[in-house]
């Protein structure tokens, strides 16, 4: 089964971060796509549609709606924590890489962080495609053993008495962190709340971004 691929001996992978990877991979993927199209295995228009979906429709703004609603409505929060897949589907977010979702509530005593040490499992319908760092070796290696060190990389320090729980997505269960609602937001609208729910706060590597603080990643 294990065999050299045709490209293995044609290209040097010694330094994949150089511009040479760009042109090499560009040519390689172009060749692959035109071959599969010529064979009739793929429809290039479907590829455009797939890309458009994850560039414009699906992203962390979906998850932010879920979190804001859970902050506003105690019944929805209860439903989300009991059956996140159904609660999230009620907002229209369903499908690939989100067939089975579990929501994890942060509290003053508990902080949750999600990782996939084996690959890149991530709740696409609510967060979109994972960022590069989530798929990278530093995060996959360290999150399960040194989550506070990882949080420090994100500029987050938690009190020593907070229990840090790490969830390794080894199966098809996808995890969404429900961050704590920041104090002082009691009279805010759902839209205002959604605007402070960062992607990282739903992975557990960040906290909601209050106005005046710079969001690490706008949702």
């Amino acid at each position: 089964m294990q065999g050299a691929l045709p490209h293995d001996h044609l290209h040097s992978d010694d330094d994949p971060d150089t511009g040479s990877e760009l042109s090499e991979m560009d040519a390689r993927v172009r060749a692959l796509e035109s071959l599969l199209t010529a064979k009739g295995y793929i429809d290039p228009a479907a590829l455009d549609k797939l890309i458009e979906t994850y560039e414009t429709k699906v992203g962390p703004h979906n998850g932010a709606r879920v979190v804001a609603k859970a902050w506003m409505e105690p019944d929805f929060r209860k439903w989300l924590l009991a059956d996140a897949t159904a609660a999230i589907a009620s907002l229209g977010y369903t499908g690939r890489q989100g067939e089975h979702i579990v929501a994890l509530a942060n509290t003053p005593r508990v902080h949750n962080m999600v990782v996939c040490t084996l690959c890149s499992c991530y709740p696409w319908p609510v967060l979109g495609l994972p960022p590069v760092w989530y798929k990278s070796a530093p995060y996959r290696a360290r999150a399960v053993i040194d989550p506070r060190g990882v949080l420090a990389d994100f500029g987050v320090t938690l009190p020593a008495d907070v229990e840090v729980r790490v969830w390794d997505s080894t199966a098809e269960i996808r995890y969404l962190v429900l961050p704590e609602r920041p104090p002082g937001t009691e009279r805010w609208s759902e839209d205002q709340l959604a605007a402070i729910v960062t992607r990282d706060s739903m992975i557990g590597t960040g906290l909601p971004a209050m106005p005046g603080e710079r969001a690490q990643e706008p949702a």
């Binding site: 560009d26 479907a46 797939l50 992203g59 499908g95 089975h100 990278s136 530093p138 399960v144």
Partner: protein, 219 residues
């Protein structure tokens, strides 16, 4: 397989480096690589576990030196070659030289939204009742399968507590080998971080999703 993809607990990869305002893709070839992989996956010529397995069979040094979507492309080419859907020569220049194999399900553009929204649940019926219940203490088996598995090395032979029963799900170890879905009960297991890492951790608990064959009863 004890591959370098199984990164949990590995060290010396450096800090996690988040990118501000990160786009879903960084190059045009990444867009096409993502979409072509999903479109070929939709043809049903292989299953999700086989596609993960194909990526994990990237040789270790190359895996670590490769960007994420390069690993995807390497995995896709491997699958296409193994199933004789393309030849090595064809991959090199993208010119079709052999007749295509019949493919039943070509993903068309007008089906993309439906297919993505539907997803593919991995939950299945299983006649045998679950062996474990919430609260049970279990131990993960000490195993080193040479083929695909979702039991990370860092949590083999470790004692934990069942915190959730997810029903029966497709068993990746069998599915990746083409042995059918062989559904097994799936549990979330809580491990005290000290059980996994001794004193050398900043985590309090790590949760891992484990299929029943990964577990044995413990006291």
């Amino acid at each position: 397989m004890n591959g370098v993809h199984d990164m949990g607990g590995a060290m010396n990869f450096g800090p996690v480096v988040p990118e501000r305002n990160e786009p879903p893709f960084h190059h045009e070839w990444e867009r096409r690589a993502f979409a072509v992989t999903l479109a070929m996956g939709a043809t049903g010529q292989w299953n999700l576990d086989q596609s993960r397995d194909a990526r994990e069979r990237t040789p270790p040094a190359r895996y670590l030196a490769s960007s994420y979507y390069r690993i995807w492309i390497a995995g896709l080419e491997r699958l296409l070659l193994e199933r004789r859907l393309v030849t090595r020569d064809e991959l090199l220049d993208g010119q079709a030289r052999t007749a295509p194999l019949p493919i039943a399900n070509v993903l068309r553009a007008d089906r993309v939204a439906t297919v993505l929204a539907r997803g593919a649940s991995t939950q299945r019926e299983r006649a045998a009742p679950a062996l474990h219940r919430v609260g049970d203490v279990v131990r993960t088996r000490v195993v080193h399968p040479p083929t695909h598995t979702r039991l990370p090395r860092y949590c083999r032979g470790k004692r934990g507590t069942i915190v959730r029963v997810h029903g029966a799900h497709v068993f990746p170890d069998a599915n990746a080998r083409g042995q059918g879905e062989a559904p097994q009960w799936l549990y979330t297991v809580r491990f005290d971080a000290g059980e996994l890492w001794g004193p050398d951790t900043t985590a309090d608990a790590v949760f891992v999703d484990c299929w029943e064959p990964y577990l044995e009863a413990s006291r």
